[in-house]
Subunit: 311 residues, 2 copies
């Protein structure tokens, strides 16, 4: 995929993207060099870069840290057209600043959480949030992918809100990541909004999502299993698709026996031969020795590998 | 109350504090001049300044905006010893930066939310969050008041976590605002931690909190009813305390018929004769015309006033 020309609206994104795990230094500062290396590896696996997602510990990073990391990725020459950074913050001023930064750097899109501190807010209030950000950013290149993850954010994005945003911001609000965990919701999005790029929130529903006309998936486990997930994305019409889906579901289920973010980082640390990756920022904690042994046992039992990651 | 000497550890705070509502300009930028005026009025009502609380729309403000507002309050000569700004953010780097800023300005304390994006986190992870912030700020003047508000933040502060923090950071972790809405929890804090400054999360339990040895209250409605709440705080042993408690409960119940933050701002706008105060940031929305009429009707029926606010 080519880099986006600065004057061109980015193409609608598709395929498999990873909410890239974020490496930290011993003092818990962000580690740009390691993130660049990881992103470069993910791109070799046909995996796009949904940096600053939930599994990136994005909400444990400041806006300034996110801007610096994005500068580092772009400065390293990675393909901006494959970047969909998370830019939705609790504060509308933060969301404007971070989204503007991403668009100016030429990112293919942004993945936007709703503001998530205040609970029980109205669709009208959420509409105003997204509308204000889009208008303040004021850049025709902006492509917004909404981020619906009520189990974590508690504040969700309803079908009615999507309908209103699509009507008022056609070509700008172009897709969604649905991490509701409810297939009926994903299905409704696929059916109700033709042309809307619906990304499955994890790969366990990738085949169904593709069969329903979806755009792909953005999944935690794409951090460690990107090639297999991309293969199913690319070959979902093939005879072996059901078996491929079952196999990756089994791997995800094994990882999910442990706290997801520390487990992903443990896998990257182990298979990349780089223990620094084990670090997480509070309020998360790394795996215990017992959990670590358990996870690595599960992975070995499946002959799991991350080719090309080490060295 | 005198200003805090820069080299002295601030006194443990007590009394009534308001999570001061935050005024916005027409472009939704923060309005420092109006905030200074409001805070000055609150101080005349014996009300401390818990700026950047939930009812301040604090989590709709960026860290930079909060720092600028705090600079404006201190620059205007308001009593820093009466300031307890909210400084707990999702990102540990933000919490460190904002807390450091508040301490350097001489604030009497800070009110610290736990990081609230990731759900189901462990006490160990939350402990590490607070410990890291305290150690990174590294200033003997720091006084931390924890902020327990599970109905909104979803992430709470357990009794066990308080116990551990008190043991490891005596004189630094000194109090809490309990907005759990569960009296049994407030009561347990009062009983288990002698000397710990327990603030009721709203004035409906102020009398009980004072009877139990509490420090006072930090309440949304202190934005509009500070003098009465302070009078009960100061005179809770008096014969009329039960009646005073009942009267302020009735006022709060009337306001709570409407969305709290827009209702508080509507009251300030109306009684301060300054419609600019009606503005809220998304995802909140201002009261509808019908809600506004309803609120003002409830207040008039109670001969409500905010003496000295207008002009």
């Amino acid at each position: 995929m080519n880099k986006i020309d600065a004057q061109t609206k980015p193409a609608i994104m598709s395929g498999v993207l990873s909410p890239v795990v974020t490496p930290f230094k011993a003092d818990l500062g962000v580690d740009a060099a390691r993130l660049v290396k990881q992103c470069r590896w993910l791109l070799t696996q046909n995996c796009g870069l949904a940096v600053f997602g939930t599994n990136s510990e994005a909400n444990s990073l400041s806006v300034g840290e996110k801007m610096d990391l994005l500068d580092a990725l772009v400065g390293a020459g990675l393909d901006t057209g494959r970047m969909m950074p998370g830019t939705g913050c609790c504060s509308i001023s933060d969301s404007v600043a971070l989204t503007s930064h991403a668009v100016k750097l030429g990112c293919g899109g942004v993945l936007m959480l709703p503001p998530f501190y205040y609970k029980g807010v109205s669709d009208e209030g959420l509409y105003r949030n997204f509308a204000h950000v889009i208008e303040k950013v004021g850049d025709a290149r902006l492509r917004v992918y909404l981020y619906h993850i009520p189990p974590v954010a508690q504040v969700g994005i309803s079908l009615k809100l999507i309908e209103r945003l699509l009507k008022d911001f056609p070509g700008t609000v172009v897709g969604i990541k649905d991490s509701s965990g409810e297939w009926a919701n994903t299905e409704a999005m696929l059916k109700n909004f033709p042309g809307f790029a619906v990304f499955a929130g994890n790969e366990t529903i990738l085949l169904k999502t593709m069969q329903g006309g979806g755009a792909g998936c953005i999944s935690a486990t794409a951090n460690i299993n990107p090639a297999a997930i991309h293969a199913l994305y690319a070959n979902w019409r093939d005879a072996g698709a059901e078996a491929a889906q079952a196999k990756m579901n089994d791997l995800r289920a094994a990882v999910q026996k442990f706290p997801m973010i520390p487990a992903l980082k443990q896998a990257v640390a182990h298979y990349g031969n780089d223990p620094a990756w084990e670090r997480v920022r509070p309020p998360l904690v790394e795996l215990t020795a017992e959990q670590k042994a358990g996870l690595l046992g599960e992975l070995k039992a499946r002959a799991f590998a991350m080719p090309g990651l080490a060295g």
